[in-house]
């Protein structure tokens, strides 16, 4: 199992960089992960999406469908890719500390 160092703290991650210890997530983790993908300042909409993902996961135990995510946040898929370089699953969910998407991705 790999680990990454973010601002002096070490976190267990899988080979794609998804957090393996969800309890350790903080906003700083999200910021540091975003930085690794070249996004240095997270704006309000970034946080709206990530907070929505975290809340939804806490309540339902799953990540929302893309349609649900765009409808509830008002951020359409095109904007989603502008905010999160690798899209809602590989960037937004990863930065928000959700488990890695599975299935025939």
């Amino acid at each position: 199992m790999a680990s990454i160092n973010l601002h002096g703290n070490s976190y267990e991650v899988d080979e794609d960089g998804f957090l393996q210890e969800p309890d350790k997530w903080t906003e700083d983790v999200a910021k540091a992960m975003a930085e690794m993908e070249g996004i240095t300042d997270l704006n309000e909409t970034h946080w709206k999406v990530m907070n929505y993902l975290r809340d939804y996961f806490k309540q339902n135990g799953i990540a929302p469908m893309v349609r649900k995510l765009t409808k509830d946040t008002g951020v359409n898929l095109k904007e989603m890719y502008e905010l999160f370089p690798q899209g809602p699953a590989n960037s937004a969910c990863k930065w928000a500390g959700l488990p890695k998407p599975t299935g025939c991705v």
Partner: protein
């Protein structure tokens, strides 16, 4: 930023001149000999096609070798078929023997056209996929070695399609092929309770199970799931959605063999393939038990079928009890469907053969 959403290149830019000028004007075609076809156009133009087998999984050097042949005889053009075969086309009849000679120098068999066993549609196996219950390339090589002569010669009354899938996700065409080999497990998943909650979405895991065998862990303090093993039929779907439920097992994994599927609408409607052999353990690198059963089925079918009759049509004519008797395959409890629409597969008639 790099340009995105540009789609594949337009296929019309890559057509040989004879195809461009005769597009949509073909009059008829003939199969001249195994692996060689001639298409004749209304304009009188002719196009010769040589088809060769390929292992599908190839190196770039291999592709360059094929390109060299295309440069030499086909103005740099070639194509791949929907069963991963290679086709080299030329308007010049005198080029055909040269193409065949050069393909044979690469060790490639010429054939796969007409009433024969063409290439095997197959998957990733142990080369690349995490959910495989068997290998793909290894099995395919073993089967094609055993049935080689059926690729290069006309020895059948109709086409016989073979497909291999390394798990019951059935990527490819196993569910609609004359003969199909599918990787299956025979042991339930082992749940990693420590990792499960941080790597999996529990509701998705529960919903992934076709038999409802998965439920939340009965101990409220453990944030994980339980498998009711008597309900599990080892499909591995839960592992696909949850990496903390592995079930691959070198001793328990193996293959099942299915028969009688087809996709074309000629004569009879398309059919699903159906279970012939419930389980054969993996036996790499040559899977001798699998190849010998497949060969047996092919030989009996080749002998007993009528002209144009696909394997599934042959079984429909003679009946399943004759199929099992002729091929010496034992009929077992596992052959009897027990899933959602099982009753439709039971026999609701007094008609049968002793």
């Amino acid at each position: 930023m790099a340009r995105t959403d540009i789609g594949p290149p337009d296929y019309r830019l890559m057509l040989p001149e004879t195809i461009t000028s005769n597009y949509g004007k073909w009059k008829y075609h003939e199969i001249l000999k195994p692996g060689v076809m001639k298409h004749v156009s209304e304009t009188g133009d002719e196009l010769y096609t040589v088809r060769a087998g390929s292992p599908r999984l190839v190196s770039i050097d291999f592709i360059r070798d094929i390109c060299d042949i295309a440069d030499k005889y086909c103005d740099g053009h070639l194509r791949f078929t929907s069963r991963f075969n290679i086709e080299l086309m030329t308007p010049k009849k005198e080029n055909v023997d040269g193409i065949i000679g050069d393909l044979k120098k690469l060790g490639l068999p010429i054939g796969g056209i007409g009433d024969c066993i063409s290439n095997i549609v197959h998957t990733q196996g142990w080369i690349h996929c995490h959910s495989a219950a068997t290998d793909a390339s290894g099995l395919v090589k073993s089967i094609m070695d055993e049935l080689y002569e059926y690729f290069t010669e006309f020895k059948l009354h109709a086409k016989l399609r073979i497909a291999v899938a390394c798990c019951i996700n059935m990527c490819g065409a196993v569910h609609c092929s004359d003969l199909a080999v599918v990787g299956i497990h025979t042991t339930p998943p082992k749940v990693n309770h420590e990792k499960l909650a941080s790597t999996c979405e529990i509701p998705s895991v529960i919903a992934s199970c076709p038999t409802g065998a998965i439920r939340r862990h009965s101990d409220k303090n453990i944030n994980s799931v339980e498998v009711r093993e008597e309900r599990c039929m080892y499909c591995g779907n839960c592992y696909t959605v949850c990496p903390s439920m592995p079930l691959a097992d070198p001793d328990g994994d193996g293959v099942a063999i299915y028969v009688g599927g087809k996709v074309s609408n000629s004569r009879k409607p398309p059919m699903f393939s159906r279970l012939a052999v419930p389980f054969i353990p993996n036996n790499p690198p040559r899977w001798p038990e699998v190849t010998s059963i497949l060969k047996k089925i092919v030989e009996v079918y080749a002998r007993d079928s009528k002209k144009y009759e696909r394997l599934g049509e042959w079984i429909q004519r003679i009946g399943w009890e004759r199929f099992f008797a002729l091929t010496n395959i034992p009929f077992t409890e596992q052959h009897i469907d027990d899933f959602t629409y099982a009753t439709e597969t039971f026999r609701a008639t007094t008609q049968f053969k002793w």
